[in-house]
């Protein structure tokens, strides 16, 4: 168990992040800079390419995240749709990138797109993902090496 009281701002000076008492991970010289995103709407790009949008409520040094009012955003050509998911806890290893959403830019961007039916978009996006996944695992067969270090050879 980490003793949070041991950490202080002085150990954290290189990060130039504000110290907020009672927030786990704050002041730990890990993902400490995420503190600025707390209670803001953030977009998370996961390692598998999915986009999750939600309000960041908590995090820790591994960048495990707790998101509220979460939705997954599906994008297909010039259509998009959101699937509400509620509260989401993302294990840090699956996070590739996260950032704050610029509302102005987002609105401008979404206005160029059409909303689509969730079921249909989800189905097509999932199929596409399956296809790329299959392609990724489509690697050449392993070369079998035989080492004759046995007494019989």
């Amino acid at each position: 168990m980490n003793d949070l009281t041991k950490w202080s701002l002085s150990q954290d000076t290189n990060l130039q992040s504000p110290w907020i008492e009672g927030i786990p991970g704050c002041g730990i010289p890990g993902a400490a800079s995420l503190v600025e995103h707390i209670d803001r709407q953030i977009l998370v790009l996961q390692r598998d390419g999915r986009y999750i949008v939600g309000y960041l409520r908590s995090y820790d040094q591994y960048a495990n995240l707790v998101l509220e009012n979460t939705f997954e955003r599906f994008i297909l050509d010039d259509t998009y749709c959101d699937e509400p998911l509620g509260i989401f806890i993302i294990r840090g290893e699956n996070v590739a990138l996260l950032g704050e959403v610029d509302e102005e830019k987002e609105n401008q961007w979404l206005s160029q797109l059409r909303t689509a039916s969730l079921e249909e978009t989800k189905r097509i996006v999932r199929e596409k993902r399956q296809a790329t996944k299959a392609h990724l695992h489509d690697q050449p067969e392993r070369v079998e090496w035989t080492f004759y270090d046995d007494a019989f050879f």
């Binding site: 290189n14 990060l15 130039q16 992040s17 010289p29 890990g30 993902a31 400490a32 800079s33 995420l34 995103h37 977009l43 790009l45 390692r47 390419g49 986009y51 960048a63 955003r73 994008i75 840090g92 290893e93 996070v95 590739a96 990138l97 996260l98 950032g99 704050e100 959403v101 610029d102 830019k105 987002e106 961007w109």
Partner: protein
């Protein structure tokens, strides 16, 4: 710890980060931490067609484990100093080993 210190010298400088999922991001380094997670400001996605959604971000936190390359401008790097620091660290390690 050498690379942590090294990357700290890039704070405020512009770098280009390529991720393992082929996203390429250019931005100003805001902060770096011990896992080499990097926070960029004023970001620009160089291959926007592969991930149009990221266009809407104004800053981004990149987890160190997904970074493939970091491209920096040569003018920002003092290779001699880096080499010297590497030698120093090696010497110190040897001292500890004895």
């Amino acid at each position: 710890m050498l690379f942590f210190s090294f990357f700290k010298t890039f704070i405020g400088k512009t770098v280009t980060v390529e991720l393992k999922n082929d996203v390429i991001i250019r931005g100003k380094v805001h902060s770096v931490d011990q896992y080499l997670n990097i926070k960029l400001e004023d970001i620009e996605i160089l291959n926007i067609e592969s991930c149009p959604q990221l266009m809407t971000l104004k800053n981004s936190f990149i987890r160190g484990s997904v970074i493939r390359y970091i491209q920096v401008y040569a003018i920002d790097v003092d290779c001699e100093m880096l080499q010297e620091a590497a030698r120093r660290e090696y010497k110190e390690l040897k001292k500890v080993a004895k």
